[in-house]
């Protein structure tokens, strides 16, 4: 069972929700897909961490073999290649590692080298398998890392898996939720929060994922995100209060369900609601096509 946690912007509570759900589940996987600014490990403080470099393939052109036909340059839709001064220049930052240039080369002048773009790591914290990755500074895209994390997470199937998505609703989020069985959207009680909720809601709906909303930082009074859920018939899975105690636990890098009875109950109940929804969905809609699994 794979549960993705997402939100339209950063700072809404994705990590709070996904870390605490995984901790409440006890035996689970937590995957931090925010490879630009990972922070789940700050809470789990995983042990027995193993690291692995992630590389992408970059073309290398043999100048002696190259006949200057420029088919590779014309083929590259990312414009990562140029042919000037009698030779091919490769712009590594722009290359998307599709391998097409090597395929179209009529004289086999193009081979590939591996370029390290970051690393993924895996550790353990109180029964929870903690996976995450981090991009090397200056890299343009975290996509190769997220793909690696997804492949690695399917190495131990059957576990409850929580996917802490990058913020927003862009490519990295789409890749992170791709094989999810369920999407949990976290939203703040502001007009801006409701607008961000709308952007992820549209994404989740577009791909037809079963979904629900967790309202975070709840105060008495008006909640535009709650209103958005009511107006659109979106299930509200639970509410987390705007609470000083929770803020203090979190600011100290602790996990609320491991520190507080009240929060162990709150996230335990939230977890049961989500599991019930997913089971219901898998009965109604049994075969989702997976990419990695």
């Amino acid at each position: 069972m794979r549960i993705a946690v997402l939100s339209g912007k950063g700072g809404t509570g994705k990590t709070l929700v996904s870390v605490n759900l995984a901790a409440a589940a006890k035996a689970a996987f937590y995957i931090d897909c925010d490879v630009e600014e990972p922070n789940g490990h700050l809470f789990f403080k995983p042990e027995n961490v193993r690291e692995k470099e992630v590389t992408v393939a970059i073309p290398v052109v043999d100048e002696h073999q190259c006949n200057g036909c420029r088919r590779c340059v014309d083929f590259c839709r990312f414009n990562a290649l140029a042919f000037v001064g009698g030779k091919v220049s490769v712009f590594e930052d722009i290359c998307h590692s599709c391998g097409g240039c090597a395929l179209v080369c009529p004289v086999n002048a193009i081979s590939e080298k591996q370029r390290v773009v970051g690393m993924v790591r895996r550790g353990e914290s109180g029964g929870v398998g903690v996976l995450g990755g981090i991009m090397n500074p200056g890299e343009a895209s975290g996509m190769p890392l997220i793909k690696q994390l997804m492949r690695d997470s399917f190495a131990s199937p059957g576990y409850l898996t929580f996917i802490d998505c990058p913020p927003g609703s862009g490519c990295l989020v789409m890749e992170s939720i791709r094989d999810a069985d369920y999407c949990v959207m976290v939203a703040e009680p502001t007009t801006f929060g409701a607008s961000n909720l709308q952007s992820v809601y549209e994404l989740v709906k577009l791909f037809g994922f079963p979904h629900g909303v967790v309202l975070n930082k709840c105060l008495d009074g008006e909640n535009p995100s709650e209103q958005f859920c009511l107006d659109n018939g979106i299930e509200i899975l639970g509410k987390i209060p705007f609470d000083k105690i929770l803020g203090k636990i979190t600011s100290e890098g602790q996990i609320a369900v491991r520190e507080s009875e009240a929060y162990a109950r709150l996230f335990g109940a939230l977890l049961q609601t989500i599991i019930r929804d997913v089971r219901h969905e898998t009965t109604v809609n049994p075969q989702r096509k997976r990419r990695y699994g």
Binding site: V73, C76, N79, A82, V84, F91
Partner: protein, 122 residues
């Protein structure tokens, strides 16, 4: 000698475009014949690497100098490899800048920016 300019319109009285890689049109002017030709820039709306593709086109036309208000590092790398020199424009009118260039009044462009890479910016 052929020179190229990023321009906003396909006419001799056009303004210069502030972006090299994503300019809608390129003006190629021959200083001997005093003839100008206009080309659509096929790279104007490519998802990435626009500067590389624009620079490739300019180099393929046998251009020896580019007059532009600014240029990104990828475009500059291609142009440099092709032996194309870069000159910094100081006014808006293409015709005016060609005149200044012919009189030796334009300095070489050295402040190559790191590129906007999908973030536009004018």
């Amino acid at each position: 000698m052929k020179i190229a300019l990023p321009v906003n319109n396909k006419s001799d009285d056009t303004d210069i475009c502030v972006s090299f890689g994503r300019t809608p049109y390129l003006m190629i002017y021959d200083t001997q014949t005093k003839q100008s030709h206009f080309f659509d820039n096929a790279a104007a709306d490519s998802p990435g690497g626009a500067g590389i593709k624009t620079a490739q086109f300019v180099a393929d036309q046998g251009v020896e100098a580019v007059l532009t208000p600014r240029c990104g590092e990828n475009s500059a790398q291609v142009l440099k490899a092709a032996g194309v020199k870069l000159y910094k424009t100081t006014g808006d009118s293409a015709a005016g800048e060609i005149e200044k260039f012919a009189a030796g009044g334009l300095a070489e462009l050295n402040d190559i920016h790191p590129g906007f890479h999908g973030h536009g910016g004018r």
